[in-house]
């Protein structure tokens, strides 16, 4: 029977460290600590580790090129730029206002991507609450 491996990762400075440990086909939760250590991968693995992340974006080179963002995110960008301009003028009241607007439009964009009504349920209720929208 082939050996199975369990993987973990952690950040070491500017690197990501991939760790590996061999596990038995039958999981034993009472392994001793020495057997439980994660070590540097001892064998190569063709099936890769996959990182999912957000990437940097740059502003368009031309003035007539669209930013490629939704309306809410475009307005968020406008408020961010206004906040930076207010910061340069040391107008911290308007900087605070535009920064809060920036976060507001970001959250609004995220909330718009979740369909359906949002109902606040009481804690530990377990009851099904009947909504009466449109009545």
């Amino acid at each position: 029977m082939s050996t199975l491996y369990d993987y973990r990762w952690h950040q070491e400075g500017r690197y990501i460290a991939i760790l590996q440990r061999s596990i038995d086909s039958v999981y034993d939760p009472y392994l001793s600590l020495a057997d439980d250590l994660f070590i540097t991968p001892s064998v190569s693995d063709s099936s890769a580790v996959y990182l999912r992340y957000t990437v940097t974006q740059t502003a368009p080179s031309s003035e007539t090129v669209d930013l490629g963002l939704s309306q809410n995110l475009s307005l968020a960008v406008v408020h961010y730029v206004k906040a930076r301009l207010a910061e340069e003028k040391e107008d911290f009241k308007w900087q605070f206002y535009h920064t809060s607007q920036f976060y507001k439009y970001l959250s609004r964009d995220q909330m718009n991507k979740k369909g359906g009504p949002r109902v606040v349920l009481p804690k530990h209720s377990g009851q099904v609450i009947k909504t009466t929208f449109g009545e």
């Binding site: 199975l4 993987y7 973990r8 990762w9 952690h10 950040q11 070491e12 400075g13 500017r14 690197y15 990501i16 460290a17 991939i18 760790l19 590996q20 250590l37 994660f38 070590i39 540097t40 991968p41 001892s42 064998v43 190569s44 693995d45 063709s46 099936s47 890769a48 580790v49 996959y50 990182l51 999912r52 992340y53 957000t54 990437v55 940097t56 974006q57 740059t58 502003a59 031309s62 003035e63 007539t64 090129v65 669209d66 930013l67 963002l69 309306q71 475009s74 307005l75 968020a76 960008v77 406008v78 961010y80 730029v81 206004k82 930076r84 301009l85 920036f102 976060y103 964009d109 995220q110």
Partner: protein, 102 residues
């Protein structure tokens, strides 16, 4: 929304200045919400622990591993307990590159 429209709304006349601010805004936005995401595969090599982060990464959303048993990518957790790692020698090796001799 076009770059020109952003400049008009903000009252900026210099395009290069607007581009710098918009680039900052996009970076801040990407660090908060996953607007534009991508992925990268890292091949696990024997006796190599450290791998470089992607150069264009803003925020990590997850690390996944494809196990041979079922062929699906499964999210692998980060290790928090340092006593479960055999040795920390690789940290010192990585830190050597950052040492600045005065």
């Amino acid at each position: 929304m076009k770059l020109l429209e952003v400049m008009e709304r903000c009252g900026i006349k210099e395009p290069e200045r607007a581009k710098v601010y918009i680039t900052d805004a996009l970076y801040e936005m990407q660090s908060l919400i996953p607007e534009k995401t991508t992925g990268q595969k890292i091949n696990v090599v024997a006796d190599q622990r450290l791998y470089s982060w992607p150069s264009n990464m803003v925020r990590l959303l997850g690390v996944y591993k494809k196990y041979d048993t079922d062929g699906k990518y499964i999210r692998i957790p980060s290790i928090q307990r340092i006593d479960l790692i055999d040795e920390i020698t690789s940290t010192a090796a990585a830190a050597e590159e950052d040492i600045i001799v005065v």
